[in-house]
């Protein structure tokens, strides 16, 4: 097994730069630079010297095998965050004790290979590193802690019990076994099914937390949508003018609203038009608005062609500076309240988020739901179809096993690891 090293913190000038080493040679490599090693898991200040030349003064921490992130013997060097220092220390390490530079994602891969993380936890870690908002952070941390594996294990236990009951009536039909296992099987199955359905619903919300919610601002031409967007964003993201139909394309602005990642969409004003380019913009506005998680309708006296507000959408008067209440991008009137309102509505939706966060999880759960629904209906049809109920239960079990990574994870591993960057 090679020993690997890489810069764990971002490149560039900073107060501190963290260099991470993992593998059997990591402690010896550090000793080669700093002399006598500190006790494991205790930060100690050491002078790093190579060939009699001092490289830096660094904080050195050693992790013994089995008690590190990767599960291997590991070390961290907290250097002064200068490009030159990092460069010098990395050069000093290169080739010593069989050290080599880590490949992308290799630290995490080793953690997986050494059983420190399961597949879902690796995904959680990737999300945590990418997390920009509070909700994303909390969610990723939950996944990283192994929440998905725990839930999947609970379901698996129940389904295995249900399957065992059915199998007993099949394989021991001629013997003293409970005649009617249907009530217990149905109870177990429906309990799991209810959980799975809740997770599947919550899964969409969780995916939103991970990828961000989309909020579309729509209204008639010249209703003040772009001015509102700029006010919400705090910068001139969209061109505004008094000319109706200025915005043709969809303009996106990412922002953090009460801990949620939100992408605001400014869209072309909706009206009947002969102008071909404007027509394309309006079609685009309609389709994006329909797919968005929430729509803010800036209402004026004109009716909006092509779209009706859905439950939970926000309807508000624009250009409040002209009187009549509502919101005004120009004066800032009602802006804070609007942000508050958007946040409240999105938080309501994200509250249902369960433990599953990725499309892969949701698809596995949906497969399990489908199989469980068939299983329950076969059980209800009576014992003549017991073998079919059992077959469906097996399919559901398989799907749940895929959640925590069984063997059809082969391609998945590639994708997960390729989405990691050096040193994470």
């Amino acid at each position: 097994m090679n020993t690997i090293y890489a810069l764990a913190s971002a490149r560039g000038k900073a107060g501190v730069a963290v260099l991470r080493l993992s593998g059997p040679g990591s402690h010896a490599a550090v000793a080669g630079l700093c002399g006598p090693l500190p006790e494991p898991r205790r930060a100690s200040l050491r002078r790093l010297v190579k060939d009699g030349v001092e490289l830096d003064q660094a904080l050195v921490i050693l992790f013994p095998e089995g008690e590190s992130f990767t599960g291997e013997a590991a070390a961290e060097l907290h250097l002064h965050g200068s490009l030159a220092v990092v460069q010098a220390v990395m050069q000093a390490l290169a080739g010593e004790h069989g050290l080599r530079l880590a490949e992308p994602g290799e630290f995490t891969r080793r953690a997986l290979e050494n059983g420190k993380l399961d597949l879902a936890q690796v995904e959680g870690l990737a999300d945590l590193i990418e997390a920009e908002t509070e909700a994303q952070r909390r969610q990723a941390l939950r996944v990283l802690s192994g929440a998905i594996g725990r839930r999947a294990e609970e379901w698996r236990e129940k389904l295995i019990r249900a399957a065992a009951l059915i199998e007993a009536t099949i394989d021991f039909a001629d013997e003293d076994v409970p005649v009617d296992v249907a009530p217990e099987v149905l109870a177990l199955g429906h309990a799991v099914l209810a959980d799975l359905r809740r997770e599947a619903l919550g899964g969409r919300a969780a995916e939103r937390i991970r990828d961000g919610f989309e909020v579309a601002i729509i209204g008639a031409p010249n209703a003040g949508k772009s001015t509102l967007l700029n006010a919400l964003a705090g910068r001139e993201a969209a061109i505004t003018s008094e000319i109706a139909g200025t915005t043709r394309d969809v303009i996106e602005v990412r922002m953090d609203i009460r801990g949620l990642a939100v992408t605001l969409l400014d869209t072309a004003g909706l009206r009947e038009t002969e102008d071909q380019v404007e027509r394309i913009g309006i079609d685009r506005a309609l389709s994006r608005a329909r797919m968005a998680d929430l729509r803010v309708f800036l209402i004026s006296d004109e009716a909006l062609p092509g779209i009706e507000p859905e439950d939970g959408d926000i309807l508000i008067r624009g250009k409040a500076d002209l009187g009549g209440g509502g919101v005004s991008g120009k004066t800032g009137q009602g802006i804070a309240e609007l942000i508050e309102e958007i946040g409240t509505r999105l938080l309501e939706r994200s509250a249902s988020a369960g433990v599953i966060t990725r499309e892969r999880h949701r698809l596995a759960i949906e497969r399990a739901i489908e199989a469980m629904e068939s299983a329950m209906s076969e059980v209800e049809k009576g014992t003549a179809r017991a073998e079919l109920a059992a077959a469906e239960l097996r399919i559901a079990l398989r799907a749940l096993e895929a959640l925590v990574g069984r063997v059809d994870v082969e391609n998945l591993l590639d994708e997960i690891f390729s989405s990691f960057c050096i040193g994470k």
Binding site: E65, E387, V407, E410
Partner: protein, 621 residues
């Protein structure tokens, strides 16, 4: 010295099937047994088949083995178990006349051209380095052979217990084979100890049959062999009675005198076949247990009371048996007993049942930790075919979990080993809907024909069946019906515009059968068993389609080979227990690893990750 291709030691169910299979494949074969007239003895209950077991018998028959034909000749009551459940989980079973079975088995073996039966005791194995080259008999004579199959059953270090009395022996009245056992002990193979029990044998004349509920066989008997259509022997009924509180009180009061509860036995017994002592202790709240009274033969007074095996002293057996309705005046012909015996850990075997450590030596049957005639015979078949293949310089013959119950059993034994006597169940087969008793011939007979172990009569019968099956499918595909065409026929389908063939309509189940037959007269004209078979295929068609995915996954796992030099204990993520198991078993593939007891999805992912790492390292080196 005689020179042969294959020697089979033992004439039980594994030995008989092994010898017949080796001979069919063209190997000059000798079956060595103490007494030729004891070949095919049923030492436990007088029945063949059942759930899972019936599947095995059908598979043996599909490869032209002997068990199914012997059972058909000896069957005195045929019942298809799970008749009210789906066809995939139905299992043929028959009460067999012990004597008829034995005689038919001996007749079938005598008819094998390449097979000779040798009476004698094998006392030693001839070895050359780590390869076996033949056997030594008690009279000092030697037979040389390329392959030797050992089917020693429960004879290895067998101890029989009746209460606190114990005696050496593999079966009541037989001698244990001590010299061979000592020889095998010297091979230093991992082994374990198991136990099994038998009930007292009763005199039928002393049973008050008139007071008992009687269970007849099926009106339309389902036989084992694909070549047979109707029973030969006269058919009888079995009696059903029940234990009661008084029975249980007697057992409970004498538990201390039972070999199993008195601490005389160290072996592990099967959980699915508990003794009456076990039943009374472990299921204390049950006030009654069913007992089947099974006649052992047409001209045999012996009755086998299935459900009350025991190792209590003889006088206690008499008093508890007499407390049971219908048995008040019963005479015990032979007391029940428990037997303890050694088995060899089957994880030391290759998928051909050849030992990993000794070339040319094959183990089959109860010696591998299984229980049951059918399990033994199925292993005998595998060992016989492979011993012959080895002797004739041919490729090994493999069975997979996705093609047969035989494959399921081999894989279970080789990867998980046994912790109690291993018995087949349908739930062990994850591809159960595809691996049915009704289609065993379609699954395996082509394989047997290709191997050359299927004779002419079966080959012709099978070809004729396939031809009829094709006609049936063609007839059903001849017309595609819309939902409008089906209006008023009794079959309601979704109004989805789809047109459905007769085969599609058959998938609607039993209720659609009649309508389909009236709509497709060419199909209706075919023999009933062909129609039945096609209807079953239709019933499961959509599930089989879905299971293909799993079968492919299994195939991928089977193709993912685990390096033989994997240092499992040094893989930090594995629990110590699992790492030790893996190090001991050294699974060849990920598929085998997946079925090791205690294996978790997370640990499997870990193994896969290591396989990939090993590949990466190999690629970069």
């Amino acid at each position: 010295m005689k020179h042969l291709d294959v020697i089979v030691i033992g004439g039980g169910h594994a030995g008989a099937e092994a010898a017949a299979a080796a001979a069919r494949l063209g190997a000059r074969t000798a079956l060595v047994t103490l007494r030729a007239d004891a070949i095919g003895v049923m030492s436990c209950n007088p029945a063949i088949g059942g759930l899972g077991k019936g599947h095995l018998v059908r598979e043996i028959d599909a490869l032209d083995g002997v068990m199914g034909r012997a059972a058909d000749a000896a069957g005195i009551q045929f019942r298809l178990l799970n008749r009210r459940k789906g066809p995939a989980v139905q299992g043929p079973r028959a009460q067999a006349d012990r004597k008829l079975y034995r005689l038919e088995m001996q007749r079938l073996l005598a008819a094998e051209e390449n097979l000779t039966v040798v009476e004698g005791e094998v006392v030693d194995l001839r070895m050359e380095g780590q390869a076996v080259t033949g056997v030594v008999l008690q009279d000092g004579s030697e037979i040389s052979a390329r392959s030797v199959i050992l089917t020693a059953g429960t004879f290895l270090n067998g101890i029989i217990h009746i209460g606190d009395q114990r005696q050496q022996g593999g079966r009541m009245g037989d001698h244990p084979s001590v010299p061979l056992a000592q020889k095998l002990a010297a091979l230093d193979l991992p082994r374990g100890r198991l136990k099994t029990g038998t009930p007292p044998r009763l005199s039928g004349r002393s049973i008050d049959w008139a007071s008992l509920e009687m269970q007849p066989g099926d009106d339309v008997p389902v036989l084992f062999s694909f070549l047979n259509r109707a029973p030969i022997a006269r058919q009888i009924s079995c009696g059903i009675t029940h234990t009661n509180e008084a029975t249980h009180d007697i057992v409970r009061a004498n538990l201390g005198r039972s070999a199993m509860y008195g601490g005389h036995i160290e072996g592990v017994g099967p959980r699915y076949c508990p003794s009456i002592e076990d039943k009374v202790v472990r299921f204390a709240d049950k006030t009654s247990h069913q007992v089947f009274l099974e006649p052992e033969g047409l001209d045999d007074d012996t009755v086998y009371p299935n459900g009350i095996s025991t190792s209590l002293p003889a006088e206690v057996q008499e008093s508890y048996v007499r407390s049971i309705a219908g048995l008040q005046n019963v005479v015990i012909l032979q007391p029940g007993y428990a037997i303890e015996y050694d088995y060899f850990d089957p994880r030391s075997l290759r998928p051909t049942l050849e030992l990993k450590s000794i070339e040319g030596l094959f183990f089959a049957g109860q010696i591998n930790g299984t229980t049951g005639y059918e399990e033994a015979a199925a292993q005998g078949l595998v060992a016989g075919l492979n011993a012959a293949a080895r002797a004739l310089g041919r490729d090994p013959i493999h069975f997979s979990r996705s093609d047969s119950y035989i494959g399921v059993m081999l894989d279970d034994l080789l990867t998980r080993g046994v912790s109690e006597p291993y018995r087949m169940f349908t739930s062990r087969a994850e591809f159960r809907l595809a691996l049915r008793a009704d289609n065993a011939d379609q699954r395996l007979t082509p394989k047997g024909i290709a191997l050359g172990c299927v004779r002419e009569d079966r080959r012709i019968a099978f070809a004729a069946k396939l031809d009829l099956m094709e006609q049936a499918h063609a007839a059903l595909q001849a017309r595609q019906l819309s939902s409008r065409d089906l209006a008023g026929t009794g079959i309601t389908v979704r109004q989805d515009g789809a047109r459905r063939s007769g085969f599609d309509l058959l998938s609607f189940g039993e209720e659609a059968r009649e309508t389909v037959e009236s709509l497709f007269p060419d199909f209706a004209a075919l023999p009933a068993e062909i129609r039945e078979q096609v209807a079953i295929d239709a019933l499961y068609a959509q599930y089989l389609h879905r299971q293909e995915q799993d079968a492919r996954l299994l195939q991928r796992e089977e193709e993912t080979r685990l390096p033989t030099d994997f240092d499992y204990p040094a893989m930090p993520g594995l629990s110590k227990e699992l790492a030790l198991k893996l190090a001991r078993l050294r699974p060849d593939t990920l598929a085998q690893a997946a079925r090791i007891e205690g294996m978790t999805p997370a640990a499997l992912t870990l193994l896969l990750a290591h396989v990939r790492k090993a590949r990466r390292n190999a690629a970069s080196a």
